[in-house]
Structures are given as structure tokens and as C-alpha cells.
């Protein structure tokens, strides 16, 4: 878990009626040095969410008092834009779409790995409030020109296929953060299911061969059983 090393302490609100799950998340977050608060009732959760600042909210879909969907709608209706990650038992099709349409930012189905939850929360929480559109992404000596669709590292031109370009763009935008396999599948290829073959691994290894193989310092790292990270360190 050292991979989530806290550059800064984050504040999370967990609204979840299953105490076991909530404690698991809270303990994991505390171990990483983050602050996490836990409420099991929907109404209490909403009151807390509007009265105190949080970096992100973990919200169960089914709650006593007030359900998750209503909480998000109430938050968005009152101009509270705290990122919300839905946690749900139901891996339904419509549930995800409805959750996102109501104003949720991400969606995770139980049972989940803590690393997956944390990767998604980090991506949400550290999202800059106003995203200035950059035309060139830079990580160490790797440069990606989003307008000319070109890539070069240490002055050497690297030819990328469109699918490799899209993958690298996502990784560079999330520089220093962990991105999981499912995050890549959803965000880069719009795959909302678990492929049974090594689609992600294959694309990562092809990309790695192009951007890292001939260079001294590897940028793209694999975190076993967790995901990947593109890091300048």
C-alpha cells in the first residue's frame, strides 16, 4: 500500500450502512495518512456532506434514511461539487448510467479491492478544480503533443498508433497516480466489462516497448495486482 504514499492528507466522507465495509475503507485510508469519516445513515450523511469540506465522498447506493441517488441529486442541486464515488452491490447496467447522470463521478461494484477504490478516489480528489486544456503533456523527458498527435522522448521521435496514443495520453494526464486495469478499460477503450484475455497487459507492453525500452530510465511502472503508474521519479 506504500504506493499510495500521501503527498498530502485528504479528507474523505464515507456514507455506507455496512459497518464492516466502512471500517475496512476507513482503516485503509488512515493507514495511508488520510482522514476519513464514516456515517451509516443517508440523511446524516447528506447533512455532513453539505456542512463540511471533503476531497471526495464514498457513497453507498442503498442506504437507510435517504438513498445514494437522492443524496447526490441534493448535493448537485445545492451547488456542492464534491466528487462522489458510488459504491454498490448491484453491477447493473442502468444503475451505473443513472448514478453518473444524477451527478456521481465514478462507480465501483462490491466486492472491490481497496487499491481499486483508492486509485479511483485519488483520480477524483486531485482533479484540479478548473482543468486548463493543455496542448502538450510532459512527464520527465517524454512529450506528447495533443494537437500535432506526435510523441517524442529525449528529442527522439516515437511513432505511436492511435490506440497507443490514447493510452499514453490517459497515463500522462494521471502522472504519478495509480491507474487500475478497469480504469484503463473504461476510460481509454470504453470497455465496461472484464475481458477474459490480456487486452490491457498487451497494450501496456506494446506502449512500454516504444516509450521505455531504448531509454535509460523507465517511466511506466507495473504495480502487481494493483495497476500501472507513469512516474517521473
Amino acid at each position: 500500500m506504500q504506493t499510495f504514499g500521501s503527498a498530502s492528507q485528504l479528507r474523505f466522507l464515507i456514507i455506507e450502512d455496512d459497518e464492516r465495509t466502512a471500517n475496512y475503507i476507513r482503516n485503509g485510508m488512515a493507514e495511508l495518512g488520510h482522514f476519513a469519516e464514516f456515517l451509516s445513515d443517508g440523511r446524516d450523511g447528506l447533512m455532513r456532506a453539505v456542512s463540511e469540506p471533503y476531497d471526495a465522498i464514498v457513497l453507498d447506493r442503498m442506504l437507510p434514511g435517504l438513498d445514494g441517488m437522492s443524496i447526490v441529486k441534493a448535493l448537485r442541486a445545492t451547488q456542492h461539487d464534491t466528487p462522489v464515488l458510488f459504491l454498490t452491490a448491484i453491477a447493473g447496467l442502468d444503475d451505473r448510467v443513472e448514478g453518473l447522470e444524477a451527478g456521481g463521478d465514478d462507480y465501483l461494484v462490491k466486492p472491490f479491492a481497496f487499491s481499486e477504490l483508492m486509485a479511483r478516489l485519488s483520480a477524483l480528489a486531485r482533479r484540479p478544480p478548473t482543468r486548463a486544456e493543455k496542448t502538450t503533456l510532459v512527464v520527465a523527458d517524454l512529450e506528447l503533443d495533443l494537437v500535432k498527435r506526435t510523441c517524442n522522448r529525449a528529442g527522439q521521435q516515437i511513432e505511436l498508433l492511435p490506440r497507443e496514443f490514447a493510452l499514453l495520453e490517459y497515463l500522462m494526464r494521471n502522472e504519478g497516480r495509480i491507474v487500475t486495469k478497469t480504469m484503463l478499460l473504461e476510460r481509454v477503450w470504453d470497455f465496461h466489462f472484464d475481458p477474459e484475455t490480456s487486452v490491457v497487459e498487451t497494450q501496456i507492453s506494446r506502449l512500454r516497448a516504444k516509450i521505455d525500452r531504448r531509454f535509460e530510465k523507465p517511466l511506466l511502472q507495473t504495480l502487481r495486482n494493483i495497476g500501472y503508474t507513469l512516474n517521473a521519479r
Binding site: D18, P111, R163, T197, V199
Partner: protein, 452 residues
């Protein structure tokens, strides 16, 4: 709402009725017209004969003067040549009359005006007799009679035409109204078929037969909606009550794994975690199939370009295949293959099929993805050169948890093809498994007109 009038039963009936009405009016009219015409000519003959007799009676013995005067007074009484008279002496000299000559036989005849020294074109009914050897001709123009029967005929035609037109128009009105209401029922049922259970058929206050049908349809939809909602609720409850303890179990196993780090137990717990993931995956897949089958996803259908999805499949799985010594090629003959559908589900459907081919196609499998839409429906084919599926098992593979004997040992939920089938059904597409000599060829035919 497009109403095709000619397809409507009431309109057809009204057309038929209109035609029947027109025919019977015409037959009756022509009959009446003929009768009237006959009666008119009969009366004309009577009056001609009567006049001839009246004139004849004025004849005293050998005195032609009275006879002449009588003819002259008749000539005076007539307007133009509506009536014609000609009295000649036995020697052939014209004594009185309003026509110069008469080349007609004795008795009744029907002659043209020219025969009487008048303009031709008008017919005359004439009676030629002799009063003591002096030929007397009395006749009448048929113009009047003809005009009367013409008026009669015209009014009959007009009345018949008007009546038939009104019958057809009235029929069209009722047909249109009836059919519009049938279209309302059709529209509602189509929406229900697409998974929108909020659709209802409007019921009017007339309480006619269609209203009774509409009410029953609404009752049926209501009942269906209740059942579907109940089922959805049960599914959600089961999902929640099953997934929550499963999640706790997963948490416990993970925490135990952290505590047992570096021991043999850690490896065993890792296996347990895998098993939990498998159970969860199977459960999620079942839920997904059930949701696809419920059809509510149709309300989110949008225009989707199949070639884009297929090319992406070719690229991503082409790379995967390369690493396994296999091959995936894409041959799409058109630039666009637009259908109405669900991009996410279509992507999963094609991915499932390509992954199936990769998994079961063997070491050197060559997988071909093809699509055509020459003029007809969009057809997508995914074929491999692997062992294929025996013909008698091709239907069964769509069943949940069914696995072909040979592939029992390969990992998988046994739900992949069930989901493929459910997604194809959702799109109204037909799915057929064929022999690729050797291998399996999956052909998906999207319905005509699904493009937009």
C-alpha cells in the same frame, strides 16, 4: 402517426359499399330513365294521333277549306317547328302546313328534319294519313322529349355520384378515426415491446369496442409493469443481500491475507479471494443478462457505427492474438454501418465473440471479423478456423452455464454466449452459428431499417 388508408378495413368496406351504391343507383336510374322515355314517346304518339283526328274531323264533304283552316290554326298555335303539319291535295299540291315537303311513308315513322325540308339533326315523330285522299302529316319534334330525358339522366347521374362520394367520404372518416385509434394501440404496444412500461393507450369517453380493447390492453400493461418492477426489486434485494456478505467475506479474506504475509496461508487466502471474485463475476454476469433481457436498455438506443467498434476489436484483439501466435483480421466493406443500438453492449457482444474464438480457436487460430451491408441489412461475421461447435450443440451453447464438452477445462463463466444472445435479441438481430469448414462462423444479422 402514419395512417395507410387503403390498409384499413373500414375504408375498404366503405369503398365497396360506395361502389355497390353507385351500381345499384345507376341500374335503377337507367331503368327509370328508359321507362320515362318510353312513357314520354307513348304520350307524344297519342297527342299526334289525337291532333290528326281533330284535324280530320273538320273535313266536310269535299270541302277542303275547313280542313285547310284547321291545319293553319294548328300551325299558328305551334312555336317554330315544335309541331309540324302538312296538308296536300290528292294531286300533291301543298295546301297548308309549316314544312315544304314530306317524303315519308304512310303511318308512323321517325325521320330526320331533312326529310321534311327542315334543318337536319333534329328527329321528328310523324304520322302520315290521308283525309279523303288528301295526305295529311302531323308530327312533333323529339327535341323536347330528348331534353327531358337528358335532364332526368343527368340528375340521376349527379345524385348517384354525390351519394357514392359521400358514402366513401363517410367511410374514410370512420376508417381514419378507427385506424388512428388502432395506431395508438400499436404505438403503445411497440413502446411496451421496447421495454417502456409507462406506455398507455388513450381511452375515449365513447366507450365503444375499441375503447374496451384499449382498456384491456392498459390493464395488461399495468400488470406487466407491476410484475417487472417486482422482479427488479427482488433482483436488487437479492443482489444487495448476497453481495453485502460476499463483500464482507472478501474483506475478511484480504485482511487475513495481509496478516499472514509470507506464510503458506497467504497463498491459500489468495486462492480464496480468486474464488470470491469468480462467484461475484458470475453473479454480475447473470444480473447483466437479466437486465439486457428485460429490455429497458432500448430506451437508451442511439445511432452506433458498427465499423468503428469492429475496427477497435480488430486492433485490440489483433495485438492480443499476435502475442499468442494467433491472428485477428478485420474486413469491413463499408465506411459506415449505422444501426440504432447500445454501443456499450454491442462492444461487449463483439468482444465476447472474439475472445471466445481466441480461447477455443486453438494455437494458430485465424479469426476473421467481417461486415457487409450491400443494400440489405447489416451483417457481421466472426469466424475462426478452430474446432468449431458440433451441429447438435449449436442451440444449446446459448443456454446459461452450458459448456461444450471439450471446453469444460478452460476458464470462463459459461455465460458469455448467453449474454451475446441476449444482446443480439435486444437489438432484434438474428444470431446463427455455422460451420466455417473448419471452425465456427458466427453470423449476426441486424434487422432492416434499424439504420438511422
Amino acid at each position: 402517426m402514419h395512417v395507410r388508408l387503403l390498409d384499413s378495413t373500414p375504408f375498404r368496406i366503405s369503398i365497396l359499399l360506395g361502389a355497390l351504391f353507385l351500381t345499384s343507383t345507376m341500374v335503377a336510374g337507367i331503368f327509370a330513365w328508359r321507362l320515362t322515355a318510353a312513357e314520354l314517346s307513348l304520350r307524344l304518339d297519342d297527342s299526334i294521333r289525337e291532333e290528326a283526328q281533330v284535324i280530320g274531323q273538320t273535313y266536310g264533304d269535299t270541302d277542303l277549306t275547313d280542313l285547310r283552316d284547321s291545319v293553319l290554326s294548328h300551325v299558328d298555335a305551334t312555336v317554330g317547328h315544335r309541331r309540324v303539319y302538312l296538308l296536300r291535295s290528292s294531286a300533291g299540291e301543298v295546301l297548308a302546313g309549316n314544312i315544304p315537303r314530306a317524303n315519308v311513308p304512310v303511318g308512323w315513322s321517325l325521320v330526320d328534319g331533312a326529310m321534311l325540308g327542315l334543318a337536319s339533326g333534329t328527329s321528328y315523330r310523324v304520322f302520315s294519313s290521308a283525309v279523303d285522299g288528301n295526305p295529311l302529316l302531323v308530327g312533333a319534334s323529339l327535341q323536347e322529349n330528348d331534353a327531358v330525358s337528358q335532364v332526368l339522366l343527368n340528375s340521376l347521374l349527379l345524385a348517384g355520384g354525390l351519394l357514392s362520394a359521400s358514402v366513401v367520404a363517410l367511410g374514410a372518416f370512420f376508417a381514419f378515426r378507427g385506424q388512428r385509434r388502432l395506431v395508438e394501440i400499436t404505438t403503445a404496444m411497440r413502446r411496451v415491446g421496447q421495454g417502456d412500461l409507462t406506455a398507455r393507450v388513450p381511452v375515449s369517453r365513447r366507450q365503444d369496442d375499441i375503447d374496451r380493447v384499449a382498456q384491456q390492453v392498459n390493464v395488461a400493461i399495468e400488470r406487466l409493469a407491476t410484475l417487472v418492477e417486482g422482479m427488479r426489486q427482488v433482483t436488487v434485494d437479492i443482489a444487495h443481500d448476497l453481495k453485502t456478505p460476499l463483500n464482507r467475506l472478501a474483506i475478511t479474506v484480504r485482511e487475513a491475507g495481509t496478516m499472514a504475509e509470507g506464510t503458506e496461508i497467504e497463498a491459500m487466502l489468495a486462492v480464496a479471494e480468486e474464488e470470491i471474485d469468480d462467484v461475484s463475476r458470475t453473479f454480475d454476469a447473470l444480473l447483466r443478462i437479466a437486465q439486457v433481457e428485460a429490455g429497458s436498455r432500448r430506451s437508451r438506443f442511439a445511432a452506433v457505427d458498427l465499423t468503428g467498434i469492429l475496427r477497435q476489436m480488430g486492433e485490440l484483439y489483433g495485438d492480443v492474438a499476435e502475442g499468442r501466435g494467433q491472428q485477428v483480421t478485420v474486413d469491413v466493406s463499408t465506411d459506415f454501418l449505422r444501426i440504432r443500438g447500445d454501443r456499450e453492449l454491442l462492444t461487449q457482444m463483439f468482444a465476447n465473440l472474439v475472445e471466445n474464438a481466441l480461447k477455443h480457436g486453438g494455437e494458430n487460430a485465424k479469426i476473421a471479423i467481417g461486415a457487409t451491408a450491400a443494400t440489405g441489412p447489416a451483417v457481421v461475421e466472426i469466424s475462426d478456423n478452430g474446432p468449431g461447435i458440433p451441429e447438435d450443440e449449436r442451440e444449446a451453447v446459448f443456454r446459461r452455464f452450458y459448456r461444450v464438452e471439450r471446453s469444460r477445462t478452460t476458464p470462463g463463466t459459461g455465460l458469455g454466449l448467453s449474454l451475446v444472445k441476449a444482446i443480439a435479441d435486444l437489438h432484434g438481430a438474428s444470431l446463427s452459428l455455422q460451420d466455417n469448414y473448419p471452425g465456427l462462423r458466427v453470423v449476426i444479422t441486424f434487422p432492416m431499417g434499424s439504420a438511422s
